[in-house]
Amino acid sequence: MRLAHIADPHLGIRQYHRQTSAGVNQREADVAAAFRTAVDDVIGQRPDAVLIAGDLFHSVRPTNAAIVFAFRQFQRLREALPGAPVVLIAGNHDTPRSTETGCILRLFEELGVDVAAEAARRFVYPALDLSVLAVPHQALVGGERPALRPQGPERHQVMVLHGEVEGLLPADRSGEEYGGAVVTLRDLGGEGWSYVALGHYHVQHEVAPRIWYAGALEYASSNLWGELVDERRKGQAGKAWLLADLATGRMERRPVRQGRPVVDLEPVVAEGLNAAALNGRIAERIGRLPGGIADKIVRLCVREVPRHVSRELDHAAIRRYKAEALHFHLDLRRPEITRETGVGTPGRRQTLPDLVRHFLAHRPLPAELDRDAFVRLGTDLIDAVERDPAGG
């Protein structure tokens, strides 16, 4: 029994301002391409079943283009692997907030995809001796939870679930960042499962033996820099889906090529530098990146930048970097108090992000919260909202 485990495609996400020649948001096109690549690879691997662990779409009401695209991909999958069940669950991003909204995922039932959008469902495939407990986001947050335990006589007991396993994320990036339902490892009941396919956390991760997050197919979380940090810690590069061989217990990471690199440049410490020197240091960091920053998603953190220095920086140059990259984020941090700004803000006081930042930096906090992380989270959210009006 070999299972394809895909998670968090986030189709329809719109980020940054660039569009393709066909007029599609570039990141939207990137995630679609990643999904198509993954589907191609899955078809090539011919697994016995395919599990999609939530957040197929980035929002509850994706664009028509995204829906048509997804439909086409499922059609290809089903046509190429007619004997393989395809199980799809809703994640926190594509779960309707009210029942009236209706769930677009049900559309794929027309293609023979087995969908759990709100309640948990248990799909039994006698021909495969396989039971799949499908637990969408809503089943974990609304009312009485289902028993997350193997049931029935089937030899292969599999669960696919969208949620955050408690304690998974470092404390400074608490669960709320992702807005998911929290389950404990004990809730999942490690014993007895042949495999648990998790979705929600965008970095591939083994929670416990046979319990995995496949990770997203593209950098599509609200905190992609945090994602990068986690990946670096794990020695992972890029995104992938997982091919699980239940007989041998072997897990195969199937990388998916990204549309473009996401690069966090080595930070600059600006202490003691004047504006000219700092301009030089920034240019040097960018120049050192092989292939330059063109069309990439790039961040450069600069610490210890006094206000007057940031005011005097070469803003024309910064605008050039910004135009060249798909997204360039110059993260200037003032000495002492934490300050994170996008380009263009220095000197312009009392913008909304400024106000929020100021408020967060001074409001009373419970002692156990790390203020820096808290402020950063707030600023990131504001940034995301400002840049991505369609986001959900």
Partner: protein, 645 residues
């Protein structure tokens, strides 16, 4: 007061003089006086009370040879042809002289048996009975010569603050030690005066069914009922008794002989988590004489690690949040992995030596595996109602089925908690009697200086200021640490063993008193109490509670309940309308650890609808949908377009 006829006269000779403390008197051949009898001597305005401690009889026969000659050497011959002069001579110890000053030898005067009032005066009970704000607690009747007088203990000297504690000793089965304590508790609960405040009892059941039926009535004889009436007591069992017992290792059947369904309502589990154990981890350690280093490491665990986020990036990036034994084990493993990875030089972690860490870990994991039913892994506790104790309530902690180490732990923690709450005056009652049977096991005279012994010693020395009172019992007083029994203001002796009486602790007792103690019938006791100048013998009725033998007959323990039945039993203690069938249906096919966890959560939350809550904890079962045929897939011609490129 009717002056009874004299039954004897004081006799004082140069060889056997009267002193202020002792005197002799003779009686007729046929006399009701016996060892332990209280007598009154009155002469010329002076009244002396004494208690008989010894007796001799002899005739005017010169030598035994004269007797042989007188009978012509025939033992079968008739009595002496002439009746010889003969004497019954009793020695008595003075209980009280009135007036007390000037203290003089006992006058030579007529001796009478003591009346009720005499007994009251002789035992100085007039100081604390029969007046306003009396503090007398009936302990039994003094009986002699057809007279029966109630004897009272002074609760200021029994439950503090003047003195406190009670110890009872005597041989197994005949000394009626456990029964006497049960009776005395009944008496305290019925007569402890209102102006002294509230009182509760915490009893550790250490022997089988001993204290398992305190809330069930006894079958008493008319004679026993009469005794109750004489003492001003009613023979009713305890009305508010709460039982606590750990689980058996299955985690759901209670480890007690009080497991009959009809008794389940006030029988609760005693379950502790890591926090509860860790606070008293010393108990687990000092058996093996563990050093200060281990204590330091335990303190570190208690203060820095357990129950809070503990960050140590050298161990792992994610902070530890240790709540349970399983979490703790994970933490220990991280330390050992770290130390191992360090290789040479890695014998120390944060100033703690690896050997110390291993030792602490072994002791802790030992208790969690050996006492599975007491120590739970999921961090939920079920405990005595600290802070919510109620007046005249009995809390029985059944540790009879636990191994010795776990018993020590239960003792140490329970007594320490009582102490803390009494110090803060927030236990819920003003006085607590702690009853510990088999004291020799917990505070032995020889043997190592364990934590529990130190604790009992401390309790016996300082408890009276707090209202924390120790009632203890053992077969051999000589086997108990001297200061623990020595601090007991009141000492009671039932039937004793001769060898025990030969030990130095009993040197002050007369030979006749020792003989009496060695042959004491059931239901009779000798009492030392601060107000009584001499030990006094009393009789008490059987306690008004069902004997353990009858209890076991009437309420046979529920042996080997099936898992679902035991779960249903537990749930019904929260809501008696929950049906066994319903529980069976719900539990069927679920993993036992899941069910136990749900049960523990229900116990912790005390929800309005326990069954619904329990069921929600287990989670809804998801109905299977068998998918045999698949929908055909429509083929689609047109290409993807350029959406994803």
């Amino acid at each position: 007061m009717i002056a009874l006829r004299p039954i004897g006269r004081v006799v004082a000779t140069e060889l056997k003089p009267s002193t202020p403390h002792q005197f002799y008197f003779w009686t007729a051949r046929d006399t009701p006086v016996g060892i332990g009898a209280i007598v009154r001597v009155e002469e010329a305005g002076r009244v002396v009370f004494g208690v008989v401690t010894d007796a001799v009889a002899y005739s005017d026969m010169m030598t035994p040879m004269h007797a042989v000659l007188g009978a012509d050497g025939d033992p079968g011959a008739m009595d002496d042809p002439t009746r010889r002069a003969e004497i019954r001579l009793f020695s008595a110890s003075v209980l009280r002289q009135m007036p007390e000053e000037p203290l003089q030898p006992v006058p030579i005067g007529p001796v009478r048996l003591a009346s009720d009032d005499d007994v009251r005066l002789a035992l100085r009970m007039d100081a604390y009975t029969g007046r306003d704000r009396a503090t007398g607690i009936p302990v039994g009747v003094y009986a002699a010569g057809g007279l029966e007088s109630p004897v009272y203990l002074d609760c200021d000297f029994l439950l503090g603050p003047e003195a406190a504690h009670l110890n009872i000793t005597g041989v197994s089965g005949l000394a009626t030690k456990t029964s006497a304590v049960e009776f005395l508790l009944t008496s305290i609960f019925q007569t402890f005066p209102v102006h002294k405040g509230s009182v509760a009892a915490v009893c550790f059941n250490v022997k089988g069914p001993d204290l398992c039926f305190l809330d069930q009535p006894a079958v008493l004889s008319d004679e026993e009922r009469r005794l109750y009436a004489r003492l001003g007591l009613t023979p009713t069992p305890f009305t508010d008794v709460h039982y606590y017992a750990p689980f058996k290792s299955d985690g759901v059947n209670l480890n007690t002989l009080r497991s009959h369904e009809a008794l389940a309502a006030n029988t609760r589990p005693l379950v502790w988590g890591l926090r509860e154990v860790l606070d008293y981890a010393e108990v687990l350690l000092n058996r093996d004489d563990v050093d200060a280093k281990a204590d330091a490491f335990i303190d570190f665990l208690g203060e820095r690690v357990v129950g809070r986020d503990y960050r140590d990036d050298t161990l792992r990036t994610k902070p530890f949040n240790v709540q349970t034994f399983a979490d703790l084990e994970e933490f220990f493993r991280a330390i050992f992995d770290f130390v191992e990875a360090m290789g040479k030089g890695g014998e120390v972690w944060r100033t703690h030596h690896v050997a110390t860490i291993r030792k602490v870990r072994n002791r802790l994991s030992n208790i969690s595996t050996r006492s599975k039913g007491l120590v739970t892994d999921d961090g939920t506790a079920s405990d005595l109602p600290w802070g919510g104790f109620a007046d005249r309530n009995v809390y029985v902690v059944d540790v009879a089925g636990l191994d010795p180490l776990a018993q020590d732990l239960v003792f140490a923690r329970a007594v320490s908690r009582l102490r803390e709450h009494l110090e803060r005056r927030d236990l819920g009652v003003d006085h607590v009697v702690v009853f510990v049977d088999e004291l020799n096991k917990y505070a032995s005279a020889d043997g190592s200086d364990t934590y529990v012994r130190k604790m009992l010693l401390d309790l016996s020395e300082r408890g009276r200021y707090l209202g924390l009172v120790l009632f203890s019992a053992q077969q051999f007083r000589s086997q108990v640490h001297r200061r623990v029994v020595g601090n007991a203001g009141t000492a009671i002796y039932g039937r004793m063993d001769m060898d025990e009486l030969a030990t130095p602790g009993y040197a002050t007792l007369s030979p006749a008193t020792k003989i009496k103690l060695a042959t004491l019938p059931k239901g009779e006791l000798m009492i030392r109490h601060p107000h009584f100048t001499q030990p006094i013998f009393v009789k008490f009725p059987r306690p008004p509670v069902m004997t353990s033998r009858e209890g076991l007959d009437r309420f046979p323990p529920a042996t080997g309940l099936s898992f679902p039945d035991a779960v249903a039993r537990q749930l019904r203690t929260f809501d008696r309308h929950i049906s066994t069938d319903g529980v069976h249906a719900l539990v069927e096919g679920r993993a036992e650890p899941d069910v136990l966890r749900a049960l523990a959560a229900t116990r912790r939350e005390r929800p309005a609808d326990p069954f619904a809550f329990f069921s929600a904890c287990l989670g809804r079962r998801v109905t299977p949908e068998a998918l045999t045929t698949r929908r055909p897939v429509p083929s689609i011609r047109h290409a993807d377009g350029d959406y994803g490129s």
